[in-house]
Symmetry: C2
């Protein structure tokens, strides 16, 4: 295949990620046609209403007909079951991909059912918000973010190039990585952060001596930051943890070990140990800001900041 132009792209799942993809493909004319499928009738109706795609299909098999690229933007636990329904009817030479936050488990689901005429290449755009659904997406979601592609060893080089170009067209930088390594990196940069955010919001809700109203009123002391991640899609995150068990448990073990050391320093009044731990973390934020992955505005810029920071 020498023609790098995509004619038709099908998006399976029109939530935050899927609807952002549909928007950016249309806005930047990345393909001639974008078709969307969603299992929910309400989501399909909403997608029609807001003109998200050129076509919205209620039948998953029909939705992938003639598509050069099919992207599954659905929870990682159901990728295999979804693909099983349509994978054999895909166009010869077409690419199947996904956007899931776990890569090894998704590849394990797809590989046994993959017909010779379809190229499966797993991918993960590291971008998102805490919001869900077809209205939550926006075309600039991937701008300046990284998409990690985790091809199998026998990947077709031209199809890989095509998928890389697609993500570049969506505004994203691309990195090629081994799936197992991806899953470890994401365990510490994304999965554990979500787990402890969900956890502390749950813990705060359960403290008997502190009322819900107090938690809300005084959340600007730090707690509110965690409520963002803890507002993320529960189905998606359940599936992430069930499908990246090993790496998550390993990183969680490290996190808890480190936390126990801080706890011990507090119990024994070891101010020097606490200071040492707290002082080395500021540089990482500076590096994130310098790398364009974070805003330098105080409080993420959310509270009426000083005029000179506007």
């Amino acid at each position: 295949m020498t023609d790098l132009k995509l004619k038709k792209i099908t998006i399976i799942g029109l939530g935050l990620l899927g609807s952002s993809l549909a928007r950016v493909i249309k806005e930047r004319n990345i393909a001639d046609e974008v078709t969307g499928f969603d299992i929910s009738e309400a989501v399909r109706a909403r997608a029609e209403e807001i003109g998200l795609c050129d076509h919205v299909e209620a039948d998953i098999v029909k939705s992938v007909a003639d598509a050069d690229l099919v992207i599954m933007a659905i929870p990682v636990g159901v990728c295999g079951a979804a693909a099983k329904q349509f994978i054999n009817t895909m166009k010869a030479g077409a690419i199947l991909s996904d956007v899931g936050s776990v890569k090894a488990a998704v590849m394990k689901q797809i590989e046994p059912i993959l017909p010779d005429h379809v190229h499966f290449i797993a991918a993960h755009p590291i971008a998102g918000t805490e919001q869900s659904g077809p209205d939550a997406g926006f075309a600039t979601l991937f701008d300046g973010r990284w998409t990690v592609i985790t091809p199998s060893e026998n990947v077709n080089a031209e199809k890989l190039k095509l998928l890389e170009k697609f993500w570049h067209d969506c505004g994203s930088d691309v990195e090629i990585m081994d799936a197992e390594h991806h899953d470890k990196v994401l365990a510490i940069t994304s999965h554990i952060p979500h787990l402890i955010a969900y956890n502390i919001v749950g813990t705060a809700a359960d403290v008997e001596e502190v009322t819900q109203s107090e938690v809300i009123k005084y959340s600007a002391g730090g707690f509110r930051d965690f409520t963002r991640l803890a507002a993320s899609n529960p189905t998606m995150w359940r599936d992430v943890f069930l499908n990246n068990k090993e790496a998550v448990l390993e990183m969680l073990g490290r996190f808890s070990e480190d936390l126990t050391a801080l706890q011990r320093a507090i119990r024994w009044g070891d101010g020097e140990a606490l200071y040492k731990s707290f002082e080395r973390t500021r540089d990482i934020r500076t590096a994130l800001i310098d790398a364009g992955q974070e805003t330098g505005k105080p409080n993420f810029g959310r509270d009426k900041p000083p005029a000179e920071n506007e």
Copy 2:
């Protein structure tokens, strides 16, 4: 004292909180005169340069002379030692207060050295950013936030009213609370969030299989949210943990217990337990947004959001 007008306010410590106070006092004309003291010569020089206060004093005793209200905006561990230097020379009837995130320990430091002619009333404005120093402050920092005042039992009602009025003038809502209860509430809404933010940023820095550059590149997956709190002033936070040991250890115990339950659910593949935990936390964020304590914009509004959310 029937006159509720403050003539002179002295701010001890010109960091984020102290410099925000100086700015709001001047901008909103809350007192006729604001004098600042800081132990650091560089900070004093900078305060002079940017015209933060009417007077900057290098001598702490001179700085409080004739002040109606003296506010310590310094780490909670040094409030007693600082006050000891000037408390006896304060004007008769003057109020001494603070802004520390721990209240019982500060009251315990001040009460044994408190002369009869001074009124000590502890307070805590629950507002801040991750930035430090005299340039980080801004006049609107306290707008729409809560200040908790934790008076002792024998507080002078008029002086309390004066301090309440002061914080209202600064833009803050005021709540009166018992110091021990304050310390429990803040342990869960502020101290534990900071501790686990510092902890995960440290853990991520130490994982051998994942490079620092990978942590930075892929931080938009969630990790970056935690780097904000982990960029906070290390001296201030060391003192908070050393001075609110009991409440912090209790809340940390609850947090770890809950986290162990999630860990177990992941290990045993209990998707239902995970889903249940993740689904109940979204409402808390909605409540925070409704209470005006958080922005409703996706990603705190920091990433080029969709036009309709601007």
